[in-house]
Symmetry: C2
Subunit: 351 residues, 2 copies
DNA sequence: CTGAAAGCGCTTACAG
DNA sequence: CTGAAAGCGCTTACAG
């Protein structure tokens, strides 16, 4: 069913049908009603491609997620969907599998013109820092509005794209301070990556951890930073599990009284590894995560964490992207939203 | 950058550019190389809408998920993405928030012509059975190939759409038999819905549970079926938790030795509720889930479950949909794929 | 192997 | 308030 067929059925011109379908004011209310009734009856929906070609807008935002799809990103995605729907946009997830995560794939998605705006969620580009930075610069040359959510844009010194994230560093600082206030001094950081470049979420969390130790006069011990054995799957249970299970040297040092995992999922995995090693949480080892997901909430013991304000992060992302769509030359902005420490049952008070 | 501009830059006709970009054989290899190099240099990517309008194919499959986005569906989505990519199709998730889950929304997504095929994943339609059935019949009239994955199509007696799912009933049968073989006879089923219409995954699992009891000569006790207190969020930790915490009557009967949760997530929630009630798993109560997700794997104790062959389910879904796209009048088929009981640490052998 | 032209289904000035 | 016509950016017979 095309607009021409419907026009013939209704005995009007295609332009009139178009006006009726688009709720233009310059059409007789009765004509409008008649046409819309006929459209409904025949299941006519304007062809999105033709409309887009003519009008230059798809009313669709793409959310690009690369690699693993964790619960955190999924929840942000849900909130993004709601926020964009409020503004009249459809949201569509373009998931790029790890295998296909090349600059070309990402660039094609953006350039094809299927979308009015793009949100890069969680991660993008390759592990190679230079390649990611180059992708970021290439993307900046495409005139499709885009924004980065829960990930920096890796473009180097001067940011080329706006980004919205939880304030990882402050959150980790507060969480570490919480542990310190409970008497812990030998605190391990588990499951981060290896390049300490300060832009990844885990690196910012590590920086916050370090700063809190420093503020409390506790010396930083490189031995207590246990990097992930699965750098491609940082934010997973498996990462937390394997990283603790394969603790370098002769296993978990006996004097470690608390472990900070890179996220809640990793904390749950770490808890399992600790259990297998015969170390009880929190009686023998305290444990904290990051994110505030259900997985930590229903864990026994409930994991103390920093809850990310996901709805707020999503709304802020939508706001920045929509503003950039209206005003392409708008200034780049980096938004950091504070999380909140949520006490669970996984931290023991040392006396 | 349009095809016309690129044609002028290269000093050829637009038709030649088109041929070069589409890898047609009837173009001079040198011309082709020159054009493609120029396209790369200028970041030219053919406009997807114009292409689609002309050619009638988007090379894009939409996966529609309605309401909650759980880990199981996400993993199926990842596998679907890989399977369709192998066939040269992009996959896009069109998530429909619970608030917007009307027949109109779904129908619009399908009719707009943005997609060559549609996979309904996990659930669709409203809670109202009649409305869902009506939607199913309306969808059947749209000539976009579609298939249902991990959900039946609710169209009533005669199926109007193909569907691919794990064999829920057999899985639950085997899992229940596993419990019975371990000496359990008072086994509760926790977290299912209320309408026992036999089509939902949970209802099929309940049917399998019941059949296994019958086969073992254990009488079915309605009291041991504890329906969800959160019918809209069946496959969540929260459902398992609340359903056990708010067990009807005077709480968990003392003679219940095992609980079968509607899925792994619910089992984890149930475990937390049991812990709060002072009942240890598996020492005092055994517990099983369904799905085979990481959440159960890293739980302490590891949850005994039925692992769904997600890759196989996704591949089968892609195969059926692609076949339907090639051959629209192809027969409807219902595919049930067997899962596999995976023993964890959550079932105690009663002696 | 290459080019000129028609047309996919829409929307939007432009007339009336 | 309605209609006829142009054109969005492509692809594909049809000629050459």
């Amino acid at each position: 069913m095309t607009i021409r067929e419907l026009a013939r059925i209704c005995g009007v011109a295609v332009s009139t049908v178009s006006r009726a379908m688009n709720d233009r004011s310059d059409v007789n209310p009765e004509t409008r009603a008649r046409i819309r009734a006929a459209a409904e009856r025949h299941g006519y929906v304007p062809n999105a491609s033709a409309r887009r070609l003519k009008i230059g807008t798809t009313q669709t935002i793409s959310v690009v997620i690369q690699g693993e799809l964790g619960q955190l990103l999924i929840e942000v995605l849900e909130h993004l969907g709601l926020a964009f729907a409020d503004a009249g946009y459809d949201t569509v997830l373009s998931h790029v599998a790890e295998q296909h995560a090349t600059a070309g794939t990402v660039e094609r998605i953006v350039r094809e013109g299927k979308f009015d705006g793009v949100v890069f969620l969680g991660r993008y580009g390759s592990a190679d820092r230079e390649a990611s930075s180059q992708l970021s610069r290439r993307l900046a040359e495409i005139d499709v509005p885009m924004v980065f959510c829960t990930t920096p844009d890796y473009s180097g010194a001067a940011s080329l794209h706006s980004s919205i994230s939880v304030d990882d560093q402050t959150g980790a600082y507060e969480l570490t301070s919480h542990l310190i206030a409970h008497g812990h001094r030998r605190i391990a950081f588990v499951g981060g990556g290896t390049e300490r470049d300060g832009e990844h979420a885990w690196a910012l969390r590590l920086a916050g951890y370090r700063a809190a130790l420093g503020a409390a006069g506790i010396s930083f011990d490189e031995e207590l930073v246990v990097p992930s054995v699965l750098p491609d799957q940082l934010y997973t249970m498996r990462n937390g599990y394997e990283s603790v299970a394969q603790w370098p040297g002769s296993g978990i040092p006996g004097d470690v009284t608390a472990i900070m995992a890179v996220c809640d999922a990793a904390a749950v995995g770490a808890a399992r590894a600790l259990s297998e090693a015969g170390r009880r949480v929190p009686d023998e080892v305290s444990l904290v995560g990051f994110d505030g997901l259900d997985i930590g909430k229903y864990h026994v013991p409930r994991i103390t964490t920093v809850a990310q304000p996901l709805a707020e992060i999503a709304q802020s992302t939508a706001r920045v992207l929509l503003a950039t769509m209206r005003e392409p030359d708008r200034a780049i902005e980096q938004v950091w939203i504070r999380g909140r420490v949520v006490e669970g049952e996984s931290v023991r008070l040392l006396t």
